[in-house]
């Protein structure tokens, strides 16, 4: 599965994109965040305020309780500030 990071989430993780194999037991966006936080201090820092992190599953906004299912791409980013 492709993971993408944008804006300050990307700055904190230090990477824009990566391919990962989901571990067993990770079924929702929230569970994916919990797992990502265990992958090192950069990820723990990036997802420290996880309640403000927004996610998209296959380029559609998704809540933290959304099921990942067979998603190809999941993105994490701060609240948007365009316009």
């Amino acid at each position: 599965m492709r993971l993408l990071y944008f804006a300050w989430v990307k700055e904190k993780t230090g990477i824009a994109a990566e391919d990962v194999a989901l571990p067993d037991g990770v079924a929702t966006v929230g569970e994916l965040i919990a797992w990502l936080k265990t992958r090192g201090p950069e990820f723990a820092q990036a997802f420290d305020r996880e309640e403000v992190i927004r996610a998209a599953i296959d380029q559609t906004h998704a809540r933290h309780d959304a099921e990942i299912g067979g998603a190809r791409e999941i993105a994490f980013f701060p609240p948007v500030t365009g316009g």
Binding site: W8, Q59, A75, T81, G82, G83
Partner: protein, 153 residues
């Protein structure tokens, strides 16, 4: 129509293109957003986005506006990359037979764009760089638009 681009836009040119070869448009409303430097703290702004999702979201928002109002044409242009203070950021154009639909749809498009299109602004100035934080006011403005009664969700 929607466009995401690095280059600037010209409001007059965009309106002329939208009106070309048609006489049924009675009202045109435009909104232009620009990089604002109120107190000499911002010299540059860099706009990052999520290629692919950005276009999808802008098209979704545009379709939603067309479902809510009798619009004859709409255009959303959003710039990305590094901009200077005073530069254009975003253009919304709405055209309809009568003014109310064009005014309302233009505000709706901006309110929804600001809370759902995946763009992020980073400001640079003499004091350094910082990511612009999302405003609660923007979220409140978007939620004032009640869901359509016939909406699927």
């Amino acid at each position: 129509m929607i466009r995401v681009q690095t280059q600037d836009f010209d409001v007059g040119t965009e309106i002329a293109a939208l009106r070309a070869a048609r006489t049924d448009i009675g009202a045109i409303v435009t909104f232009t957003g620009a990089v604002r430097d109120q107190d000499n703290t911002i010299t540059e702004m860099t706009l990052e986005h999520y290629p692919g999702m950005t276009e999808t979201e802008l098209e979704r928002i545009e379709q939603e506006a067309h479902a809510r109002w009798p619009l004859q044409a709409t255009l959303i242009v959003h710039r990305v990359g590094t901009l200077q203070a005073g530069d254009n950021i975003v253009l919304v154009v709405t055209a309809s037979a009568h003014r109310d639909a064009a005014f309302d749809a233009a505000k709706f498009l901006m309110d929804y764009l600001k809370t759902s299109a995946p763009f992020w602004k980073r400001e640079s100035g003499p004091g350094g760089d910082r990511w612009v934080e999302a405003k609660a006011d923007d979220e409140a403005a978007a939620t004032l638009w009640a869901p359509r009664k016939d909406a699927a969700e």
